[in-house]
C-alpha cells in the first residue's frame, strides 16, 4: 500500500516536473524571447554608429532574427530554468545599456 502510494507520488512529481519544464520553455520562447529581442534591438538602436533613424531601422530589421534565435535557444537549453535565466540575463544587459545610454544622451 505504502509502496504503491510512493510510486504514484514519484510519477506525479515527475509529470509535474516535466510540465513545469515545458511551461518554462514556452515562457522563455514566447514572451521572454520577444522581450529580449526588443531590448537587444533597443540597445542596438542606441549604440550602432549611425544616424538615429538608420540605427533604429537597422535594429528593427535584425530584431526578428533575434526573436527566432531566442525561441530556438529556449528549446535547445538543457533545462527550462536555464533557458529562462540566460535569456533574462541577456535582456538585463541590453536593458542596462539602453537605460545608461538614454539617461546619458536622452531621446529625440
Amino acid at each position: 500500500m505504502t509502496i504503491a502510494r510512493n510510486a504514484t507520488n514519484r510519477t506525479t512529481a515527475a509529470t509535474w516536473r516535466r510540465r513545469g519544464d515545458a511551461t518554462l520553455r514556452l515562457l522563455a520562447a514566447m514572451p521572454l524571447g520577444y522581450a529580449v529581442a526588443s531590448l537587444v534591438a533597443m540597445a542596438l538602436a542606441r549604440i550602432l554608429p549611425m544616424p538615429a533613424a538608420t540605427a533604429s531601422m537597422t535594429a528593427t530589421l535584425v530584431a526578428f532574427a533575434i526573436c527566432a534565435g531566442a525561441a530556438i535557444w529556449a528549446y535547445a537549453a538543457s533545462s527550462g530554468w536555464r533557458a529562462c535565466w540566460t535569456l533574462a540575463a541577456v535582456g538585463l544587459v541590453a536593458g542596462g545599456i539602453v537605460w545608461l545610454s538614454i539617461s546619458a544622451g536622452g531621446r529625440l
Binding site: 526588443s38 538602436a45 544616424p51 525561441a71 530556438i72 531621446r107 529625440l108
Partner: protein, 530 residues
C-alpha cells in the same frame, strides 16, 4: 550538432508549426492569390473593356472627378495600367464647418469609384483581387490591429518552424531526391520535405520580409529607443510635402496626364499614384508617386507640382541605407517589380509554401494515428487537429470557389454587392466547418475537396458557355491573362479532384499498422522524423 539538440528542435518545429498552422495556411493561400491581384481585379469584372491607353483612361477619370467631386479637399487616383480594370479613384469632401463634432466620416463607398477605360463607373461592385490582398494581412470580421498581431505571431512561428525544420533535417539534399509513394507517414514526410526544401529560399525570404512589412507595429522598440516622439522618425523616413491652404478663388487644374509624363521623366519609371490637393482652387497641388512596379527598390519617390502652373515645388529626398534595405525587403515580398515570368515563379513558390503548411498539418495527424493505443478512440487533441485540418485545408478553398461563384451570379444592382460576395465566402466556409465536424474524416476530405473541384470545373464551364464576354471571347481577343485565370482554376480543380479520388481509394488498402510493419523504417530514418 548533437542528437539532443536536433531532438529539442524537433519538438519546437512540431508545435510552432501546428499552433497557428491553420492561420498560416489561409495567409499562404490569400498571399499566393494576391500575386494576381490586378489580374483578378479584371477577371472579376469581366464586362469591363480592357485599358489600351492608360493616359487616356486617366484623362477620362479626371473628367469624371471634375464632374463628380469638384472642389473636393483631395482626390486620390491609382494610375491605370493595361493590367488593371480601370482607374481606382477616391476623394475627400471639404470638411463641413456645420457638421457636429465627432461624427463619423462618410462611408468609403460613397467617395470611391472605379472608372473604366471609357470614363464610366464600373457597375459590378466587387472586392476582386483586392480582397485576397487585404485578407492576407488584415483577415476579415475582426479589428485590423488584432488581425495583424495574429498574422505577425503566426509569421514568427513560421520563421521558427522553418529554421528548426532545417536543423532537424539532417540529410537535406538526399531526402530531397527521395519520394516514397504510397507509404503512409513516409510519403507525407517526403512530400512535406520536398515542398519545404524546393522553395526553402522563398519560404525564408517571404516569412522574414513579411515580418518586416508589419515591423512598425510588431517591433516599435528600436524606434522608441531613439525617439520620444516617433512621428519624428516617420517624418524623416517618409517625408511629406506639407499641407495646402485653400486660397478661395478658382483656377483650372492642369491635365493630370501631363504631370504623370513629367513625373515619369524625372523619377525614372512609371507613376503609380496621383494625389491632388484642393482641385479647382488656385492653390491646387499635384503629387505623383513612382509605381512600386518601377523596380525592386522603390520608396514611393514623389514630386509635388503647382497644380495650375505645373511648376515643381517639392521632391522627396533620397533614402538612407537602412531605408533602402527596408524598401528592398518589402519589394521582394510583394513582387510588384516582377514581369509575368517572375510573377509565375512567385505564384508557384506560394503554392509550394501552401502545400508545405498543409502537408505539415496532415503529417501531425498521420504520425500520431499510427501510435494511438486505441485507434477507435483518439484523444481529444487529435480530434481537434484532424477536424480543423479538414475545415481549413479543404474548407477554405471551398469558400474561395463560392466567392468566385458569387461574383458571377449575384445581380449587378444588388446593394452592397461587394460585401455580399465576401459573405458568400464565409458562409460557404462555415458550411464546410459544419461538414468537417459532422462527417467522418475520410468523407469530410472527400466531399469538400471533391465539391470544390466540381464548383471550379463548373465555374470554368460557366465562363465559357454562359458568360458574355467570357472565356471564349478572351481567347479570341488574345486576352491570355484572363483566359489563364480559368486555366489555373482548371488545373487546381483537377488537382483537388485527384486528391479526392486518392482519399476515396484509400479505404481499399490494408490497415495502416500492417503496412507500417511491412515497411519498417530504419533507425537512421527514424532519427530525422523524431
Amino acid at each position: 550538432m548533437t542528437r539532443s539538440f536536433r531532438k529539442s528542435q524537433s519538438t519546437l518545429h512540431t508545435w510552432s508549426g501546428l499552433l497557428l498552422g491553420w492561420v498560416l495556411f489561409i495567409i499562404f493561400v490569400a498571399g499566393t492569390a494576391a500575386y494576381w491581384r490586378d489580374t483578378l481585379n479584371r477577371w472579376m469584372r469581366p464586362e469591363t473593356p480592357r485599358v489600351e491607353q492608360p493616359m487616356q483612361a486617366l484623362q477620362h477619370a479626371q473628367h469624371f472627378l471634375e464632374r463628380k467631386a469638384p472642389g473636393a479637399k483631395a482626390w486620390f487616383i491609382t494610375m491605370p495600367t493595361t493590367e488593371t480594370p480601370g482607374t481606382f479613384a477616391s476623394w475627400i469632401p471639404q470638411p463641413d464647418p456645420n457638421a457636429p463634432k465627432g461624427k463619423r466620416p462618410r462611408r468609403r463607398r460613397d467617395t470611391s469609384v472605379l472608372i473604366d477605360a471609357t470614363g464610366t463607373p464600373v457597375a459590378r461592385d466587387t472586392r476582386g483581387g483586392d480582397f485576397f490582398y487585404r485578407f492576407h494581412f488584415d483577415l476579415h470580421y475582426m479589428p485590423i490591429l488584432w488581425a495583424r498581431w495574429l498574422v505577425g505571431v503566426a509569421s514568427m512561428m513560421m520563421l521558427v518552424a522553418i529554421l528548426t525544420g532545417i536543423v532537424i533535417h539532417k540529410k537535406i539534399f538526399r531526402d530531397f531526391f527521395t519520394l516514397r509513394r504510397a507509404k503512409g507517414q513516409r510519403s507525407w514526410l517526403d512530400g512535406h520535405n520536398a515542398a519545404a526544401v524546393l522553395g526553402l529560399p522563398f519560404h525564408l525570404m517571404i516569412t522574414y520580409t513579411g515580418l518586416v512589412t508589419l515591423s512598425a507595429m510588431l517591433m516599435p522598440w528600436a524606434a522608441i529607443a531613439n525617439y520620444a516622439d516617433r512621428t519624428k522618425l516617420y517624418a524623416s523616413i517618409f517625408p511629406e510635402a506639407g499641407d495646402v491652404i485653400r486660397v478661395g478663388h478658382d483656377a483650372p487644374l492642369g491635365d493630370l496626364s501631363q504631370f504623370v509624363r513629367d513625373g515619369e521623366r524625372r523619377l525614372g519609371g512609371p507613376i503609380g499614384f496621383i494625389e491632388v490637393a484642393e482641385p479647382g482652387d488656385a492653390a491646387a497641388r499635384v503629387i505623383v508617386t513612382r509605381a512600386s512596379s518601377a523596380g525592386l527598390v522603390t520608396h514611393g519617390e514623389r514630386i509635388a507640382y503647382d497644380g495650375v502652373t505645373g511648376r515643381v515645388t517639392w521632391r522627396s529626398p533620397p533614402p538612407d541605407g537602412a531605408r533602402t534595405t527596408y524598401s528592398a525587403m518589402i519589394g521582394v515580398h510583394a513582387g510588384r517589380f516582377g514581369d509575368t515570368t517572375l510573377r509565375w515563379l512567385y505564384f508557384l513558390c506560394g503554392i509550394g509554401g501552401t502545400l508545405m503548411v498543409a502537408s505539415g498539418l496532415v503529417l501531425w495527424t498521420v504520425k500520431r494515428r499510427e501510435k494511438l493505443s486505441d485507434p477507435t478512440r483518439p484523444p481529444f487533441g487529435f480530434h481537434v487537429v484532424e477536424r480543423l485540418n479538414i475545415a481549413v485545408i479543404a474548407g477554405f478553398p471551398f469558400g474561395c470557389a463560392m466567392f468566385f461563384w458569387a461574383n458571377r451570379l449575384l445581380p449587378l444592382a444588388m446593394p452592397m454587392r461587394g460585401d455580399r460576395e465576401v459573405a458568400w465566402l464565409f458562409m460557404a466556409w462555415g458550411l464546410a466547418v459544419v461538414l468537417s465536424l459532422g462527417l467522418r474524416p475520410r468523407h469530410g476530405w472527400m466531399k469538400l475537396l471533391g465539391g470544390t473541384a466540381i464548383a471550379l470545373f463548373a465555374l470554368v464551364a460557366y465562363d465559357f458557355v454562359v458568360m458574355r464576354p467570357g472565356l471564349g471571347q478572351w481567347i479570341l481577343a488574345g486576352d491570355w491573362t484572363l483566359a489563364l485565370v480559368d486555366g489555373v482554376l482548371l488545373v487546381i480543380a483537377a488537382a483537388l479532384a485527384w486528391v479526392a479520388f486518392r482519399v476515396r481509394a484509400h479505404r481499399n488498402r490494408p490497415p495502416r499498422s500492417a503496412r507500417v510493419r511491412a515497411h519498417a523504417v530504419s533507425p537512421a530514418d527514424e532519427e530525422t522524423v523524431a
